[in-house]
């Protein structure tokens, strides 16, 4: 599988260069990529269906147990097939849809990158690899939502989605690291028999919270749901692909994948049920006020994601079966409806449902595609959506105590979804014509082919459910529950209470549609109190961070060099003093008075020069005095036989004086800024630096230094480093990596100086 992932990244890279010359038929070229992936994975279908699990290991960083391990079982194969199939429809569609956009080549790069990462995500067995692909999908989603980067809204909502899913990504990494502490490695497959150990671990609650946080942010569950409707700023193919069929299901995939290892406790199951139900119900209710085709679809997607989460929370055999069928059904019909909504938008220029109607005459094919997808979404026989909804209801009814309450919520949500379907799938085509609407023509084959395939598959999967889903369902349930399901999927379950609920849902949905048509003007004016809206809380949070950043920038980065130096020195001295005092080591004064005359002489010169630096009112004099101090330090090095240091110090001091003079030349005339209090402050700071350094030197002299390192260098320098100058051998051989880092910093510093000076030049020119 690694080779497929590498091919995927290579294809994404290639798309950037081949788009422009092949612009007119790029859809047909692009579609080969997801189809190739689809066929490659389909070729393993027989093996997987027969119960084989394909595990592939490639070493990456074996030392840290981070490897590119891939695992293909029923669950991952199901997701991969959805990803590549919907991908094929979208890639072909986008060839026409995106033609008039600027920089469509980038679009293909991003979306191919996304598809590859998504395949990687659902096939990874190593947690770190999975995390990396997880983040890659977030990043490519960010780039795709913000594709119309010239619009402020796009940029804002792209960032919002990135922040939320990115925060979830961090939670995921922490959760994985905790998990690996228990299992001892990063392989998810190694967790399979550890359920008991994990559940009894102290980390268990933390792991559950972190993993669920990741899953809920990615799959836009309450209270993180708001990024998904906002992500509708993306071009429609992106919404159809990432934000309904694939990426938002990654969180659900994660829950399903880890259900094995983490499931079976109240904490896990009940949290998932609660959040799933909340999302299912509230997002369906929130859709009531929407008029935008894509927003309506987004809220229904949220509701479905909530239902899928709820089903995983229930966790019974029937619920897993329902989960599986509902997942497939949703990907097929929602992808289709998004693509149809895109066609409408593309040809009429509007997505407002109240302005759309009577398109049936002009776009007959689109109309019937929409009919198929809508019937599936509403759960009408014989489409796959029907089986989906039936099993969902049946599995909810199985729950003790809360079953009836939950079924009520589920019926309300599904009725609202029926209402949404009427608005999206029927009203634009079948209702009376709207005057002033730009009259469209039927979409091009390239835009229709994908939706047709998906819609027809929805029908076929409904009529022959066992042929299309049976085998994979068995293997997937094995991955989620470690039990094989032998429940056959049947289209017709007979007349029973579940069928009654289905009919009730339908009737209620139609009623809601009629009510909304009549009383829309009242509900439009209902607004939630801002603080109750999670999206508003997010805004407050971001504003808070920004104003804090502004505040601390004002304090710390105030633009005065002297303040920077003061804060650096004071904090260093403070910390160092703290450690020095805590060390409780005594300082012994060395009573060694063998001081020579010239040592005393140059000490006096150094002190005089230091006073001159401070008291001189000419800058030039100060600089020269500073140079004197430096040179004398160099002489000290010579006296105490450190010729290398002396040489360097003298060279540096020479250059420093030259540089200072060059800078001085441009400064304004010398002015006195300091008053008595600042002088006092500076004196205290300088004095404490002096005292600190003195103490340090005395301290270093009074402790026994281990000579091990010194001896090591002295011995190995010539034998292994082939040089007699130990200092230099350390610099260029033993610690060459450090030196490499240092010279890199030096180079960057030079660029920084250049940039600072250059920047000012440009300002002057203006």
């Amino acid at each position: 599988m690694l080779n497929l992932i590498i091919i995927g990244f290579f294809a994404s890279f290639l798309a950037a260069f081949i788009y422009k010359p092949l612009k007119n038929y790029f859809g047909w070229i692009a579609v080969t990529f997801p189809l190739y992936m689809f066929i490659s994975f389909m070729s393993k279908y027989q093996d997987i269906a027969a119960g084989k699990v394909i595990l592939e290991t490639n070493e990456w960083i074996p030392f840290l147990e981070i490897n590119l391990t891939f695992l293909l079982d029923g669950l991952s194969l199901t997701f991969v097939l959805i990803i590549t199939l919907v991908g094929a429809a979208v890639f072909l569609y986008a060839g026409t849809y995106m033609k008039d956009y600027q920089q469509t080549n980038r679009f293909y790069v991003y979306i191919s990158l996304f598809m590859t990462s998504m395949i990687g995500l659902v096939t990874s067995d190593n947690m770190i690899t999975l995390f990396i692909f997880w983040e890659l999908t977030s990043v490519s989603s960010y780039l795709l939502i913000g594709f119309k980067h010239y619009k402020e809204k796009s940029r804002k909502f792209a960032l919002q989605a990135l922040f939320i899913t990115g925060a979830g990504g961090l939670a995921l990494l922490s959760g994985f690291i905790l998990l690996s502490q228990i299992s001892g490695n990063f392989e998810i497959s190694s967790l399979y028999n550890l359920n008991d150990v994990i559940r009894n671990s102290d980390f268990y609650p933390a792991i559950v919270i972190l993993i669920l946080l990741a899953a809920f942010t990615k799959s836009a569950q309450f209270p993180f749901h708001f990024w998904l409707p906002n992500a509708m700023e993306a071009p429609t193919p992106v919404s159809a692909y990432l934000h309904s069929a694939t990426m938002v299901k990654a969180g659900i995939y994660l829950i399903a994948r880890l259900n094995h290892a983490l499931g079976g406790t109240d904490l896990w199951q009940n949290t998932i049920i609660l959040i799933g139900t909340l999302t299912m119900l509230f997002s369906a209710l929130l859709s009531f006020n929407q008029n935008d085709l894509k927003k309506l679809l987004a809220y229904s997607t949220l509701s479905v994601l909530g239902t899928l989460t709820l089903l995983l929370g229930i966790g019974s055999k029937l619920a897993i079966k329902a989960f599986f069928i509902y997942l497939i059904a949703h990907s097929l019909y929602k992808g289709t409806l998004f693509l149809v909504a895109g066609i409408i938008d593309h040809h009429t220029g509007t997505r407002d449902v109240s302005n759309l109607g009577g398109l049936r005459q002009f776009m007959p094919i689109s109309t019937y595609i929409a009919v198929f997808a809508s019937l599936s979404m509403m759960g009408i026989i014989p489409l796959v959506g029907f089986i989906g909804k039936e099993t969902v209801y049946a599995s909810i009814l199985e729950i003790e105590n809360w079953g009836l309450t939950l079924i009520l919520f589920a019926i309300i949500s599904n009725a609202l979804i029926v209402m949404i379907t009427i608005y999206v799938g029927f009203k634009p085509f079948w209702s009376y014509k709207i005057p002033n609407l730009k009259l469209p023509r039927e979409a091009h084959l390239k835009m229709l082919l994908g939706p047709i395939v998906l819609a027809v598959l929805g029908l076929l999967a409904g009529i022959f459910p066992n042929f299309f889903m049976g085998k994979l369902l068995e293997q997937s349930s094995l991955s989620i529950l470690s039990e094989k399901l032998i429940l056959k999927i049947k289209l017709w379950q007979g007349f029973n209470v579940v069928l009654f609920f289905s009919l009730l849902t339908l009737a209620l949905g139609i009623l809601l549609y009629i009510l909304r048509e009549k009383y829309n003007y009242i509900t439009q004016n209902i607004k939630l109190i801002p603080i109750l809206k999670p999206s508003q809380c997010y805004e407050y949070f971001i504003e808070g961070i920004l104003s804090f950043a502004k505040f601390q920038t004002k304090v710390l980065q105030n633009g005065y060099l002297r303040n920077y130096i003061i804060s650096i020195i004071v904090s260093v001295i403070f910390l160092a003093f703290y450690i020095l005092f805590n060390a409780k080591l005594k300082i012994y004064l060395p009573f060694d008075y063998s001081i020579t005359i010239y040592e005393i002489a140059i000490s006096i010169v150094i002190i005089m020069a230091a006073f001159m630096v401070v008291f001189s009112i000419s800058r030039l004099k100060s600089i020269i005095a500073l140079g004197v101090v430096g040179f004398i330090v160099g002489i000290f090095y010579i006296i105490f036989s450190a010729p290398d240091l002396a040489l360097t110090t003298i060279a540096i001091e020479t250059l420093t004086v030259i540089l200072f003079v060059l800078v001085l030349y441009k400064l304004p005339r010398f002015l006195k800024f300091s008053n008595l209090s600042t002088k006092l402050r500076d004196t205290i700071i300088s004095a404490s630096v002096g005292i600190f350094i003195t103490l340090m030197v005395l301290y270093v002299n009074s402790v026994e230094i281990s000579y091990e390192l010194k001896n090591f260098y002295a011995q190995k320098s010539f034998t292994e480093g082939k040089g007699r100058n130990i200092v230099n051998v350390i610099l260029v051989d033993f610690r060459a990596l450090d030196t490499l880092g240092e010279i890199t910093v030096l180079g960057i510093a030079a660029l920084g100086v250049y940039a600072l000076l250059k920047l000012r030049l440009d300002d002057k020119e203006e």
Binding site: P643, D644, L647, T648, A651, I652, T654, L655, I658, L659, L662, V663, Y665, K666, E720, G721, K722, G723, R724, N725, V727, N728, V729, L731, V732, D733, A736, L737, T739, L740, I743, T744, L746, G747, A749, A750, L751, V753, Y754, L757, K758, R760, L761
Partner: protein, 137 residues
Amino acid sequence: MFSIIFSTASRYLLPLLLIFSLFLLLRGHNEPGGGFVGGLVAATAFALYFIANGVDETRRLLKFEPIKLIAIGLSIALFSSLPSIFWGKNFMTGIWSDIKFPIVGKLGTPFIFDIGVYVLVLGVTLKIIFSLAEEDK
């Protein structure tokens, strides 16, 4: 302020100082010296020339844009780490040839690394000096 004596002296001092800097670089492995000091001395040599003759004259003499020197120096230093990878040793392990060369002595990757340091330090120092000096215009 142009001084003809200073200017003439700098013309003769420049090659001498450059030779001295190369001398420091070459002896660095066994005696006091090395790429860093060598680079600084070379930079001082050019700085002296610059004080006497101005920026334009120095640039013309140098022929290289200092920023390129930075890039070249860093590349040489990085390049010197490649043999250790190909030999399968730890990153940046010094690898020496056993052949003795005249003047240079034994050749090895640490020496190449030192040359990189020399060129980079020269480039950095000159870049800063030139940037500061040119702002006058």
